[in-house]
Homo-oligomer: 221 residues x 2
C-alpha cells in the first residue's frame, strides 16, 4: 500500500500549524505545506476567494486541517496525534504517548484558549486586557513545563526532551507555546526561564528543523 500523500492547509504564518510542519520537517516525510496567501478577516478586508471556498468544507470552519485522500482532519492536537506514529514521534510506548498528549492538552486549555481570545480581540482596550490576562498565566504554565523538563532530565532516560529519551510531538508544542508568547504577547517575556529557553534552542537546532526555520525566516509571525 502506498504511503498517503499528506496535505497540511493553513495560512502563511506559523501560528497553530508550526508544530505540525516541524513534525514533517524533523521526520523527513514529504508533505504539501499548503499556505493560503490571504489574511484573516480580523486583519484585512481584502477578498479571500480560497478561504471562502475552503472554510465550509472544513469540519469546524477553521484551519489547520490535514487532507488525506480527499478527507479532512481538523484540530492541531488531533492532527499531531494522528501523525505521531507514522512520523516516529510517539515516544517509546503508549504511556509516553499519553503523557505527550496530556502536555499538549494542558497547553491548549491553559494557554491557547485565552491566547486566541487575545489574538481575535479587535477593540484596542479589550485587547490589552486580554493580553494582560494571558501574560498573568505564563508564570504558572512555564513553572509546570520547566518542572516536567527537569524531572525527565534528572531521570536515567532523560536526554533533553520533555518526555522520555527522544523527541515527541509534545516538544514541538512546548516550543510553539514559547514562541507564540514571545512573538505576540511581549518579546523576551520568557527569556529569563532558562530551562524552557535551553529546550527551545535544543529543538530549533535539530536536523530538519534548523533548515525549515531558515527557509521560512522571512515570515514576521
Amino acid at each position: 500500500m502506498a504511503a498517503p500523500r499528506y496535505k497540511l492547509v493553513y495560512f502563511d504564518v506559523r501560528g497553530k500549524c508550526e508544530p505540525l510542519r516541524w513534525m514533517f520537517a524533523y521526520s523527513g516525510v514529504a508533505f504539501d505545506d499548503h499556505r493560503i496567501k490571504e489574511l484573516p478577516y480580523y486583519v484585512s478586508e481584502d477578498p479571500k476567494p480560497e478561504w471562502t471556498a475552503l472554510q465550509p468544507k472544513t469540519p469546524f470552519g477553521a484551519v489547520p486541517v490535514l487532507e488525506v485522500d480527499g478527507k479532512y482532519l481538523a484540530e492541531a492536537g488531533a492532527i499531531a496525534r494522528y501523525l505521531a506514529k507514522p512520523l516516529g514521534l510517539s515516544g517509546a510506548d503508549e504511556w509516553e504517548f499519553a503523557q505527550a498528549d496530556s502536555i499538549i492538552c494542558y497547553l491548549s486549555s491553559e494557554f491557547e484558549a485565552p491566547f486566541l481570545e487575545f489574538i481575535r480581540e479587535m477593540d484596542p482596550g479589550k485587547k490589552e486586557e486580554a493580553r494582560a490576562k494571558v501574560l498573568a498565566k505564563l508564570p504558572k504554565i512555564t513553572e509546570t513545563i520547566e518542572r516536567i523538563l527537569q524531572e525527565n532530565n534528572s531521570a536515567t532516560t532523560g536526554n533533553g526532551f520533555i518526555i522520555g529519551s527522544a523527541v515527541t510531538i509534545a516538544d514541538f508544542f512546548v516550543v510553539n507555546y514559547h514562541e507564540l508568547a514571545d512573538t505576540f504577547l511581549r518579546p523576551g517575556c520568557l527569556d529569563r526561564n532558562k530551562v524552557l529557553t535551553a529546550h527551545r534552542e535544543r529543538i530549533r537546532a535539530l536536523p530538519g528543523i534548523r533548515e525549515f526555520i531558515q527557509k521560512h525566516a522571512h515570515l514576521a509571525f
Copy 2:
C-alpha cells in the same frame, strides 16, 4: 500479563470526569471510581486534607487523573484517548479515532475553556458576564455538532453515533457538553436542539450507562 488496575480520581461531582466514568461503565471494565469527598476552594473554606496531599503529586495540579501502576496521567482528553483502545471505544480505524479526537479538541477549546472561566469566577457581576459569553457560543457549537451527527447518520455506516457505526469516546464528550450547559449555564438551554437531544437520550439509555446514571442520580451536579 495481568490487566492494569485503573483508578480514576476526581471530586464527587460529574464535571470533567463523567465521560471517563461512562467509558468504563459502558465497556464493563472494572475501575476504582475514587471520589474525593471535599469541595473545591472556590466553593468552601473547609479543610481539604486529601486534596492538599494529592494536588502536588498530579502533573498539572488538577484532576481528573488516572492512576496506573502508581503513576498519574492528567487531562480528561488524554485519559480518554489512552483508555479508548483497551475499552473498545476507538472506532473502526485510526481515521475514525482521529475524528473522535478532533471533536473532543473542538469542544475543549470552544466550550470547556470559557466554561471553566465561568465556573471559577467568584465575583457575581463578572460571573454573569462569563455566563453570557459561554451562552453566546452555544448556537455555533451546537450547530456544528448537529451537522456532524446528521452527516454521519445519513451515511450507510451511521447508526446514531457521532463517528462511524459504534460508540466512541467522542459520544460521551458530546453528551457531557450538553449536560454541563444544561446544569450550570441555563436549564433547558439546548432542549430545542432535537438532533443533539436525541443523541443524548440514545447514549444515556445504553446498557451500563443507564445503570451508572441511576446509581449516581442523587448527585446535584
